[in-house]
Amino acid sequence: MKKTVSLLLIAALMLCACLGFTSCGDEAEGSGGTETLYVYNWGEYISDGSEDSLDVNAAFEDYCREVLGKNVKVNYSTYASNEDMYAKLSSGAVSYDVIIPSDYMIGLMADQNMLMEIDFENDVPNYEYIDDRFKGLYYDPDEKYSVPYTYGTVGIIYNTEIVPEDDEHIGSWSLMWDEDYSGNILQFNNSRDGFGTAQYYLGYSVNSDDPAEWQEALELLKEQKNVVQGYVMDEIFNKMKGGSAAVAAYYAGDFFTMYSDNDRLAFYHPDEGTNVFVDAMCIPTCCRNYELATEYINFMLSEEIAVANAEYICYASPNMLVVENEEYIECMEEIHPDAITILYDFDMDSMEFYHALPDETRNLMNSLWEELKIESAIGTDIYIICVAIIAVLLALLLRRIIIKRRRQYYFDKFMRESEAVK
């Protein structure tokens, strides 16, 4: 009886699993004329219809229906970092048709044959609108894999209420080391950007493979640690908006988001040079619908869509149609009077891209970063506290054991005595 019941249960479970698998498999293979396009993008990196903006993915579905006569569904999902995206794709668990990684990641993925070549002339005619400065960059020298989507720079954001406009450090990375603003400075909480600030300040290349230069950058960061309020990423928005920090290095595009909430903020590109990055649309080799993917990329480059995206994201656009669009310029100037200058007017030659670091250097960077983060005032104390807590727990345990033993001893003794009396 018991055995038959359990056998039945096992059979039921197996059946459920099989049904689940097959039904799911069928679904993925397309159901009746609707094609699905899988797009994988950064979070909050597309005009999505919120706050009266244009819903780009819905517009693409409409475009396919009306112009191409196809039923298309855009399956749009997001990631929080290049590395997340890379891990997901290289695990082989999922497949996407369009991805939007940053420069160094494109180089890395192209080297590992993870990207498909795109035929720009026939499949993405709008590629011609891309600014020549952004064609054939180091990560894709032969213009095979990528179509630039946005680009941006890192600069320093400061609060004019706390930092006077005539401070001599303005215009330089040294503002982030200024003891006058001790406890009011925010540093990146990721190793590459964090080291970047020190390397640009020192005038070293951020792609250096000389351990001595990294070591020197670390010393500089350690020195900065005394004046830094914290190592943060997206908390920067609230801290800068609320005025609880005065100086922070961050991306130019995000400065406008902060500025719209606090007009005391100002921005500059440090003279020593800074980071520039490009995020570009690519087609991974696991793509199942090349035709639709190129259609999507082409659509993203068309004027109305590119303008909507640029206005929503506030990052600079490499698309000439956007840069020359009157409405776009007006919209950006409404956000900040110098928006166009900040986003577009800088010397590309003084900027440096992040390249994918060789394994050895990356490991060195990560271990140095650990060293920076761990070495702190509470660093050693925390171990002492942990040891003390463990010692107290052990002592309590030992005491209990001793008490138990003693009780047992007296109990046994009592039993023996009472038996003897009997």
């Binding site: 979070g43 668990a93 999922v94 996407y96 988001t257």
Partner: protein
């Protein structure tokens, strides 16, 4: 002394609830800022209901939480039944600790191993990453919690009751449904609730086994940190707090009414 303990209680409450209160207050802020409160408005709530991707993520989360906790409850209850009936104490102990391992395991280990398992399964069967893999993963990590909440109920049960039922002519199956199931039902309910909440807020495991077809709310919110989390998410979180609060009140209210009835019945008898 009494005053002190009262102050202590309020401090603890403040620590627990102030973040939630801040979130709820600012979800009504038209300015979309955490720094100044412009006017009270439901703008971000309206924005939330226009945001189709957030709503579909919420829908996915709810579907997954209900189905995975239901599945885990069924399997877990039978597992607890089996564990309870085991004669050898030795084997029982071993199986008990084996079922507890997934609970002790760090989420990241469970997540990565699940992902590897499913990738391996992909080459053999037609399994695709998506709802099915999420359901399997969530059911797996819910299972030990269900067993943990149902098993003690079996232990608390008076064995004489079941013996009496069998003695009076119940078949074992009837006995299970008439005697045991009502007795362990509170354990089942709490197991289900734990499973539901765990599944609803799981991030790490979902991160590894999810697919573009099936994004849950925690994944959606996390991915927004690439730039800035939308203010409509504050509205969403506030709504969830309200719903959970409502559910808790309802459960407590209904529970206390049930107890009153029982007491009255006993008085009559």
């Amino acid at each position: 002394m009494k005053k002190l303990s009262r102050i202590y209680m309020w401090v603890i409450f403040a620590l627990l609830y102030s973040p939630i209160i801040v979130l709820i207050v600012f979800s009504f802020n038209r300015a979309g800022s955490l720094n100044h409160f412009s006017t009270f408005s439901l703008y971000w709530y309206a924005e939330l209901f226009r945001d189709s991707s957030a709503l579909s993520a919420l829908k996915n989360s709810l579907i997954l939480a209900v189905s995975s906790s239901a599945l885990a409850t069924v399997i877990g209850t039978f597992a607890a039944l089996g564990l309870d009936r085991m004669r050898s104490k030795y084997i029982k102990g071993i199986i008990n600790s084996v079922t507890n391992i997934p609970m002790m395991n760090p989420d990241i280990v469970t997540g990565v191993s699940m992902m590897l398992l499913f990738v391996a399964a992909m080459s053999v069967t037609r399994v695709q990453f998506g709802f099915v893999t999420m359901l399997l993963a969530h059911t797996t990590f819910n299972l030990p919690y269900v067993i943990l909440s149902v098993l003690p109920k079996f232990k608390q049960m008076d064995k004489h009751l079941t013996e009496a039922a069998l003695d009076l002519g119940c078949t074992p199956l009837q006995m299970f449904f008439k005697i045991e199931l009502p007795f362990i039902s509170s354990g089942i309910a709490s197991g289900f609730m734990i499973g539901f909440t765990l599944s609803l807020d799981d991030f790490v495991i979902s991160h590894f086994v999810s697919s573009p077809d099936f994004q849950t709310l925690p994944l959606y919110v996390y991915n927004q940190t690439a730039h800035q989390v939308k203010f409509s998410m504050y509205a969403l979180c506030a709504l969830m707090v309200f719903v959970i609060l409502g559910l808790l009140l309802a459960v407590n209210f209904l529970g206390s009414r049930g107890k009153e009835k029982k007491v009255r019945m006993r008085d009559i008898v």
